[in-house]
Amino acid sequence: MTRLKTWIRALERHLFDDQAICSEDKAVRDASWVHFRLFELFVAAWAIAYAWTWGLYTFKSSVVILELGVANYLPVERLFGMPSMVIAAIVTLGIAASITRLSRWGYLIAMIALHLQYVVRFSQGEIPHSSNLIGFALLALAVGFATHKDPIAQVRFSWGFLWFFVGLGYTSAAISKLVGTGVTWIEGQHLVLWIHEKAIDYASMTGTWSPNILQAAILESVWVGTLSLFIGWFTEAIGVLMWFRRLRPYVILVTIGMHFGITWTMNIVFIAFEMQLFLTGFPWAEWAAMAKRRIYPSIPVKEADA
């Protein structure tokens, strides 16, 4: 038990203390505020876009085929159409209230409303995961702002919380594959079968499909497929290493590479995932401070030096 507590404390230090905003370098701290505000704007833009596009889609829906989340307990078919526009407006106003610092509770209200919008929109049978990272980001802001008054604590909690759930999500995906199929999941023929499925989807949508170089190589040799699946699975499995700041940029780089690999093999585009990983996964504040110092060499590193 004591060892578990020690591990938890160590993990918390990596997630919540080892951050740019805790740096002794004022230039890094200043840049980390700009970085956080850009992150908030990014999350706000995607969450608001999701809220309205999901809401508009519900005008086509008439029956609930799949009950997700709170749809298990609420008659969400009553929220199709105009009520979903009200939900989208609540998401927008909630985010606006928190991003302008008028209220700490806006993000939480927006988060609850966006969950509701998701279950209303995706009551038609499909369960997409393309919006989950934005969901984690909004949840991080929601809990971070609702439970903390101090601005620095809000930032530190939001980043730590976000990395914990993003890393856990990727590793969870790797574990799901082991549970769902076992170690044979990486067999190249499985990827060949998925490429065929996505080829039919793509041709059905656009009228034509022909394999790119990577797809042709996988269709030609089962070993290329096995190698591709192994690399993909391994990349997901090491997702929890995102918890550690020093390893994060490298893990993020291979994770972005994995998403591009999925796009090239199965024509599935992860634009929100890739943008979010790119924006949040690299030490932008340190790089910005370094660049600023090159332009203005007189900037001191530590406050004491000032």
């Binding site: 805790c22 049978g125 530190r156």
Partner: protein, 185 residues
């Protein structure tokens, strides 16, 4: 007040210091939400947005079903003279050609669900396919709505298309196989 930089309370020392108690995050909230995550995905089949066990592609090698429309020529311009159009097609994905659903504003997943999940091909359901597709082929051609099934057998992938409905310049007709099944008691 700046929106991105907090006002500094000098009475408490350096607001950026990790030693400052007020700026220390309440980590217990992360663990509470983590436990909530476990409970929610545990009782909701692994999905409670944004929480998920991320099960996509976890079951490898499973057969799948999709839908696609292909164009075929007709003998003497009629379906009656072209009974072979209803034969199942082996599909080679190396050079796929299809009638684009995207150009017609049809969602491919909705279309696949309509074709793949229909068990009773009543005249209304067949007419529904005709309603979804706004235009028609030339008079000597037919558009075949295929239910496409892919599977892995003995390590080999096979993809076969079963014609369900044919659209010609002036008709929308269900496959004779489907109508025979409907008429069977």
């Amino acid at each position: 007040m700046s929106l991105y930089y907090p006002q500094q309370d000098t009475s408490q020392g350096d607001v950026h210091s990790t030693e400052n108690i007020s700026s220390r995050p309440k980590t217990k909230w992360m663990w509470r939400i983590f436990l909530l995550n476990l409970v929610l995905v545990g009782f909701h089949l692994g999905e409670f947005w944004p929480f998920s066990i991320f099960p996509m592609f976890s079951k490898a090698g499973q057969p799948w079903s999709r839908a696609m429309i292909v164009e075929v020529p007709l003998n003497q311009g009629t379906l009656d003279q072209s009974p072979d159009v209803w034969e199942p097609l082996d599909i080679n994905i190396q050079a796929l050609q299809a009638v684009s659903l995207g150009e017609r504003g049809i969602d491919k997943i909705d279309f696949s669900n309509y074709v793949g999940k229909t068990n009773q091909w009543t005249p209304e359901v067949v007419a529904g396919v005709g309603k979804m597709i706004p235009d028609r082929p030339d008079f000597d051609r037919a558009w075949l709505v295929l239910k496409v099934r892919g599977q892995m057998t003995d390590g080999k992938v096979t993809v076969q298309g079963e014609p369900m409905v044919a659209l010609t310049a002036d008709t929308v007709v269900a496959s004779p196989t489907l109508t025979q099944n409907e008429e069977r008691p």
